[in-house]
């Protein structure tokens, strides 16, 4: 683009110079563009053409695939022979020798060109010392060209070194520095694409990355001077890079628009698979028509892909597709322009293909697509998070509700169990004593004492039931104390002295109200028997914590000095009281021993500490 502008400028400058020179043959310090030269072309030792020609001169366009040399002779107008002369040549190659008035000014490469002498797209700048100059200075440029390496000579600008160098520097910036930037950007995008592919395994990223890296290589090739590899291998590699990068990019585009099917896709696959063999064949046979055919196929491939992109865009528009379509449109327009320029001015030699720069559009498009996908992924993720949070909250609420229901059920269940327990206790204890009292009272012979006794039993029973409703938290000494508190008046009335010997005991943490009541009822029975039947004068209650081998238990002993009874008859004749005691022992997991003889009775209760 820029070079066109520069060329126009150069032309303008030339025209101005010519015009001014015709008005007054006074030369002044303005660069002169040399666009005409006498050319002598020699191919295989034979001189083919000797005639004046307009520059630029493209070896390939003029001579085709042959090797040879061309000698250009130009007259350089020198305004001021006391100043050095600057010479700026935008493009010259493949190798060259520059002579000023038969003195060699510069030489590059050998004649004929060696395998590392490239197409030489670099701009060149030389300074001619003032003492070399004469008013009619002759500039002789000899180029040696190899077929297929784009040899040739552009126009030559001469003039005061400062002015000419400015033009050269500007051109060098555009040809070298700008290219370098493009290459760096392209390689970074390519590596990013590779990274994306490695991490996400989306094959479209791989296609894009390879296309971008190959294209960057093509852009970078002009930065190598001389070539890093010998020709013709270098040329084949460049061709291969080109014929691969285009279908790779097509493949990427087709996948992005979700149209990797049908004949455009098949053609793209064919172009990808066939690229290397085609280059190899063309290289082996040196067949230019095969290369042309392949480039034609590539053009069809690109157009097919573009058609798919645009037709899809018209059906299902999305930001991603719009970006891609925009990039393709720019590339196509630039390609069209490049072809047109080459078609209409076949001798053009210094023109730079716009496609080279337009390709960056793909990079921008790719980056945009990645950013867009990331944005969508992030949005999707936050939406997912939000929905998860909602679900969690809902689940939490459900659990809370379930827990609340469970708790209500537990409370109801607990209340039910407690009611049942209380009813049973009232029925077994207070109820049966009241019924007994009633029966005694109904007997004609019932004495007042007997009725009082029965009623007192009922009241004691009721008090123990009340005590059992207070949770002693598994503290056995206080349960024993509570029984004593309730029953000691009765023992006193029976004339029995009770000796009390209760240690500190471990807490029965697993005990609830049920177990406390069982223990109290066992003791209630024991004390009642003591008071009513034993005829004892003295009784002892002791409670100890005993640790035996492998087990620990609490041992409660109630001994008296009463008349005793035969323990053998205990179970056979056991009254309801004893049966109840045994049943309650069983539910506590405790063991009850009764030892009795003429010396008195001992009831030994062993309550295990653990269940």
């Amino acid at each position: 683009m820029r070079s066109i502008a520069i060329k126009l400028k150069n032309c303008a400058a030339m025209l101005v110079a010519v015009a001014l020179a015709s008005i007054a043959s006074v030369s002044f310090a303005a660069p002169t563009v040399l666009a005409e030269a006498d050319v002598t072309i020699t191919v295989a030792g034979t001189t083919r053409i000797t005639e004046p020609l307009r520059l630029p001169f493209s070896w390939y366009r003029s001579m085709g695939e042959v090797d040879g040399q061309a000698r250009f002779v130009m007259q350089v107008p020198v305004a001021n022979a006391t100043e050095p002369l600057g010479i700026y040549i935008p493009r010259i190659g493949n190798t060259f020798v520059i002579n000023i008035n038969q003195r060699e000014l510069a030489r590059f490469g050998s004649n004929p060109p060696g395998p590392y002498d490239d197409a030489a797209t670099r701009p060149r700048y030389f300074t001619v010392p003032a003492d070399w100059l004469t008013p009619q200075t002759t500039l002789e440029v000899i180029i040696a060209a190899k077929g297929g390496r784009n040899g040739g000579l552009s126009t030559i600008t001469t003039g005061p070194p400062a002015e000419v160098y400015k033009l050269f520097a500007r051109d060098e910036f555009e040809q070298i520095d700008l290219r370098l930037m493009l290459v760096v950007g392209g390689v970074m995008l390519g590596m990013l694409g590779l990274l994306w592919w490695v991490r996400q395994r989306d094959v479209s990223y791989l296609y894009y990355a390879l296309a971008e890296l190959l294209w960057s290589f093509l852009t970078a090739r002009h930065l190598f001077d001389p070539a890093p590899l010998p020709w013709p291998l270098w040329g084949h590699i460049i061709q291969a890079a080109f014929v691969l990068s285009v279908p790779l990019q097509c493949k990427f585009a087709l996948i992005v628009i979700d149209q990797d099917k049908g004949w455009p896709s098949k053609l793209t696959n064919f172009m990808l698979i066939g690229a290397i063999p085609a280059v190899a064949l063309a290289g082996h046979f040196g067949s230019r028509p095969l290369v042309s055919l392949w480039i034609g196929l590539l053009a069809i491939n690109v157009l097919a892909m573009a058609w798919m992109v645009f037709s899809t865009l018209s059906r299902h528009s999305s930001l991603e597709r719009k970006i891609l379509a925009g990039a393709i449109a720019i590339v196509l327009i630039c390609a069209l322009r490049d072809v047109t320029v080459r078609w209409t001015s076949p001798s053009i030699y210094t023109d730079i293909a716009w496609v080279r720069y337009a390709w960056a559009g793909f990079g921008i498009g790719f980056a945009w697509i990645i950013a867009e996908r990331m944005r969508r992924a992030t949005n999707a993720l936050s939406a997912l998070n939000a929905s998860l949070a909602d679900q969690l909250a809902a689940r939490d609420a459900e659990l809370t509700a379930a827990f609340a229901r469970e708790r209500v059920r537990d409370v109801e269940q607990g209340a039910l169990l407690e009611r049942q327990r209380l009813m049973r206790d009232l029925h077994d204890g207070l109820g049966s004593h009241l019924v007994g009292a009633l029966r005694v009272a109904q007997q004609a012979s019932a004495s007042k004492d007997e009725i009082t006794y029965q009623l007192r039993m009922a009241v004691d029973q009721l008090k123990i039931t009340v005590d059992a409703m207070q949770d002693a938290e598994g503290d056995i000494p206080s349960l024993l104390g509570a029984i004593r508190h309730r029953l000691s008046p009765r023992l006193e009335a029976a004339g029995i002295t009770l000796k009390w010997d209760v240690d500190h005991l471990p807490t029965m943490r697993h005990w609830g109200v049920r177990q406390s009541f069982d223990l109290q009822m066992i003791l209630f029975e024991a004390f009642t028997n003591l008071a009513v039947h034993s005829g004892a004068k003295c009784a002892t209650l002791s409670a100890r914590h005993e640790v035996g081998p492998g087990s620990a238990c609490i041992v409660i002993k109630i001994c008296d000095d009463g008349r005793g009874f035969d323990p053998q008859t205990l179970h056979a004749t056991a009254g309801k009281g004893i049966k109840n005691m045994l049943a309650r022992c069983k539910s506590l997991g405790a063991v009850m021993h009764v030892e009795s003889g003429s010396g008195g009775t001992c009831i030994i209760l062993k309550v295990p500490l653990a269940v």
Binding site: K463, A472, D475, S478, G481, A482, V502
Partner: protein, 249 residues
């Protein structure tokens, strides 16, 4: 100071027969007030107390309201009160009495002497309780005993009070309330006595085990009752003011 003497029978619910007369005996007569809604029970209690030498029932009530009204304007040494009263709880009466007459001994008449009621009463300022089914023949002697040393404490109640004391003695608490003699901290002897009570030992057994007299144990017991209700006494004053029983100064 007026001394109220009362006739042997106190039938009506809010009978108050106050006779200003000098004490006949050398010993100062102990004035007792009974609050109990069951007529026959009240009558028996009044009779038994009156029979006791040096004691006189100065008033008896069956309702909270009349009792509170009386407490505002009269002095007493012992209050006996039932808890379940037709127009409220005996706890109200105890609280008011604690606030108005800090030196008065308060006892609760209870059916079962069960933990909840007794502990609540102690918190409100009571120092003992009488079981309703007790042999009323002994009620007078019993009240006299209570005056000396509080009621024999059941092991369940002693255990409850002991665990409360132990909680209060936890290190964190001690930092905030160091062993300052604030009238709440039990002495080691008192804690020992309370521990034995919680294991079911009687006063005489405790006396033997600690090597002291029974009356010392009784004193310990009464102190325990009082100390454990001290903080509640403050609350009682506050509550009493709120209820309008105690005049704001």
């Amino acid at each position: 100071m007026f001394q109220y003497l009362i006739a042997a029978r106190c039938k009506s619910q809010a009978t108050l027969r106050a006779t200003a007369s000098p004490s006949l005996s050398m010993q100062k007569t102990v004035s007792v007030v009974v609050v109990e809604d069951d007529d026959s029970t009240r009558e028996i209690i009044c009779e038994r107390i009156t029979e006791q030498e040096g004691m006189a029932v100065v008033a008896s009530f069956g309702l909270v309201a009349t009792a509170l009204e009386w407490l505002q304007h009269n002095q007493l040494d012992i209050l006996l009160t039932d808890l379940g009263l037709p127009d409220g709880s005996g706890i109200q009466v105890i609280a008011a009495c604690t606030a108005l007459h800090p030196q008065c001994d308060i006892m609760v008449i209870t059916m079962f002497g069960d933990e909840k009621n007794v502990i609540e009463s102690i918190d409100a300022g009571a120092v003992g309780y009488i079981l309703k089914d007790a042999d009323y023949l002994d009620v007078g002697r019993f009240v006299a005993d209570l005056r000396l040393g509080g009621s024999p404490m059941s092991s369940l109640i002693a255990r409850k009070l002991l665990s409360r004391v132990q909680r209060a003695m936890e290190p964190a608490e001690v930092i905030h309330a160091p062993s300052a003699p604030d009238g709440r901290t039990l002495s080691p002897r008192e804690i020992q006595a309370l521990d034995l009570m919680a294991r079911g030992y009687t006063y005489s057994e405790i006396a033997a085990l600690l090597g002291v007299t029974v009356s010392t144990v009784q004193t310990h017991t009464k102190r325990i009752y009082i100390k454990l209700s001290v903080h509640n006494r403050c609350e009682a004053v506050f509550e009493a003011r709120k209820m309008g029983i105690l005049q704001q100064e």
